[in-house]
Point group: C2
Chain length 209, copies 2
């Protein structure tokens, strides 16, 4: 059964997935330097065949994911209407998705096919409609809600997420975008089903009751 | 060198140390049932001589603490002026402190000596003054800032805490009192220095830089 899931979504100890003042030079904003260091180290471990909790979790991202949904700020630093179509994402010519990626934005633009099988689609449709399109594109595989916090919150409030794999990194941001904000009513439907630490981070799985 | 520290302060995955609607029947409010279960289990383990991360951490609370500071809501459910002096804390006739406990309140009352060496003092003095009194009472031992969240935040903002041992429990509260709120400017002076998980919870040490 295909799942709708959040995977390796990394937050600071004080709960932030991004700091303030996100911009081209600092995609995740201020105060969160090193937030994803664990992931890069884990990817190296995995490539080198070194086993470990983090390498295992990084590897699971690739398993059975057929489509991704993200917010516009995760796609790029441009705010407001697009000046042109020159921004094609943070990930270079060959993004690491290799499937359809639905970017939620108030400013739709033409779909953007990239090398390696990734195609970015831009949509202002409701969360449910975007998820239906993503599930159709995934064709039986899982759909990942990639971020940022606001996008995950919208899908949590709509009750559409099956599982969240959260990663708590040993950092304190102080301010920014919190994952678990504006979701008080939604969280009653979820519970923590696993918690395990590597030397670098703590992995916590949150599942629908 | 004596430290000012926060010890075994337990928060949910979404960052709350208490839920909404704290009251006599639910001292920590709604949505946080089981928040301190790890602590009771660890105390049993410790008493039975079963080793473990949690038992070890629980044991450290007793080491070298000479005074405690807490907010009035941690002392009891009474809000506003005291109707009388009948409320003597949540902990029965022989509270587990066995030293001077300073209760910060807008409504001071006479000091309250209990069995076993605990004396509750009630004060509306500034955080710095209360800490000076507590350090004097501790006589070279550590001072623990016990909680709740607001009291810890006030001492963080004043830059007076040396170390926080935070415990993240696998729960989602959705709403309530967050530990890391209203401390954005203060957190830049602190860093995570240790993170380790037991099967039950994750222990995170936050230290002054």
């Amino acid at each position: 059964m295909a799942k709708v899931r959040v995977h390796n979504f990394t937050i600071t100890l004080d709960g932030f997935s991004a700091g303030v003042n996100q911009r081209l030079e600092a995609p995740f904003g201020d105060g969160v330097d090193g937030l994803h260091d664990w992931m890069f180290a884990a990817q190296e471990d995995k490539a080198a065949g070194r086993p470990g909790i983090d390498a295992d979790r990084v590897g699971r991202w690739e398993e059975g994911v057929g489509a991704t949904i993200m917010g516009r700020n995760m796609f790029g630093p441009v705010r407001g209407p697009w000046q042109d179509d020159s921004w094609t994402g943070w990930w270079g010519d060959n993004p690491p998705y290799h499937h359809d990626v639905f970017v939620r934005t108030h400013h739709p633009r033409a779909s953007l096919p990239m090398e390696g099988g990734t195609t970015f689609h831009f949509t202002d449709e409701p969360v449910e409609v975007v998820l239906e399109r993503a599930m159709s594109a995934a064709n039986g595989r899982d759909v990942v809600i990639a971020g940022g916090a606001s996008t995950v919150q919208q899908y949590l409030r709509a009750g559409l997420i099956d599982e969240l794999c959260i990663v708590v990194a040993p950092l304190l941001a102080g301010a920014g975008e919190r994952l678990f904000d504006n979701v008080a009513d939604a969280l009653g439907n979820y519970q923590v089903t696993e918690m395990v630490s590597s030397p670098a981070v703590t992995h916590i799985t949150v599942s629908r009751r």
